[in-house]
């Protein structure tokens, strides 16, 4: 049975590698299935579309029970960088692109990329700070309007 999902809208509010990749892979996967897809970057999710920050995202080693690491240990200097390096190595093996390249693929695949206006204002960001492929900076209301079609699903990451 073909899916009745026509459009996937993702809200990315965090900038840890695991969250960003989850949203990107889901958004890309939707396009690969012929489903429309869009991502709304808000709060810390904005780091994933900031030119200066997007290649420096980390895995969360503290407050992440799935790391199977005592919280104290996860907080040691260099621990996040180490875990991040290890994860990136594993991802490269599976041919998962780095964030910058992934954003290019998403944009070329027709995924719409939106910055949240309120969060952009709050972090005092300018349009130039964000990736050139961004489709615009919009409000929550604008984003809801984009969900106004049958078969649309919205997901908070």
């Amino acid at each position: 049975m073909p899916t009745t999902v026509r459009k996937m809208l993702f809200i990315l509010s965090k900038a840890t590698i695991e969250n960003v990749y989850a949203a990107f892979i889901m958004a890309n996967g939707a396009r690969m299935e012929g489903i429309e897809s869009e991502i709304f970057f808000t709060f810390f999710g904005l780091e994933a579309i900031q030119k200066k920050k997007l290649e420096h995202l980390h895995v969360a080693t503290v407050g992440n029970p799935a790391m199977h690491m005592p919280t104290l240990l996860g907080g040691l200097p260099g621990m996040e960088a180490l875990a991040t390096r290890m994860m990136k190595k594993e991802m490269e093996k599976l041919d998962m692109p780095p964030i910058g390249e992934f954003l290019e693929i998403l944009s070329d695949s027709g995924v719409k990329l939106w910055g949240c206006k309120l969060a952009v204002d709050m972090f005092h960001l300018k349009k130039e700070d964000l990736i050139d492929d961004l489709d615009g900076i919009i409000t929550v209301g604008d984003f809801y309007n984009r969900a106004d079609t049958d078969g649309t699903q919205m997901l908070f990451v």
């Binding site: 892979i25 890309n28 996967g29 396009r31 690969m32 299935e33 012929g34 599976l94 041919d95 998962m96 692109p97 390249e101 290019e104 693929i105 070329d108 695949s109 027709g110």
Partner: protein, 102 residues
């Protein structure tokens, strides 16, 4: 199961992908494409050649691979095969649907 494509009896799975690549020829690719609403051009056939080449070398297909191919870019690929480019193009090429999530 078997399906008649281009006047030949062809083995396919329940999604319509050929299960025996040896049965593939251009007329079969053409008929599947027509059913999918795609009018094949030289550029489309170039994609098919690329996919079949990868298949023969047993290399996994991914959207990143398309980007790195240097033959077509992602945008063009989506333009050529709307509605799920790897899904549609592999069916036309007579090879299995890619299992990768990327």
């Amino acid at each position: 199961m078997e399906e008649v494509i281009a006047n030949k009896s062809i083995k396919v799975n329940e999604e319509g992908y050929l299960t025996d690549f040896a049965q593939w020829d251009k007329s079969i690719g053409l008929e599947i494409a027509t059913k999918k609403g795609i009018e094949m051009t030289d550029r489309h056939w170039e994609v098919v050649d690329y996919l079949q080449d990868k298949h023969k070398k047993e290399e996994a297909l991914s959207i990143r691979g398309i980007k790195k191919s240097g033959i077509f870019n992602v945008k063009e690929f989506y333009g050529l095969f709307p509605g799920g480019p790897l899904k549609v193009s592999t069916m036309i090429a007579g090879i299995p649907k890619p299992k990768s999530c990327i």
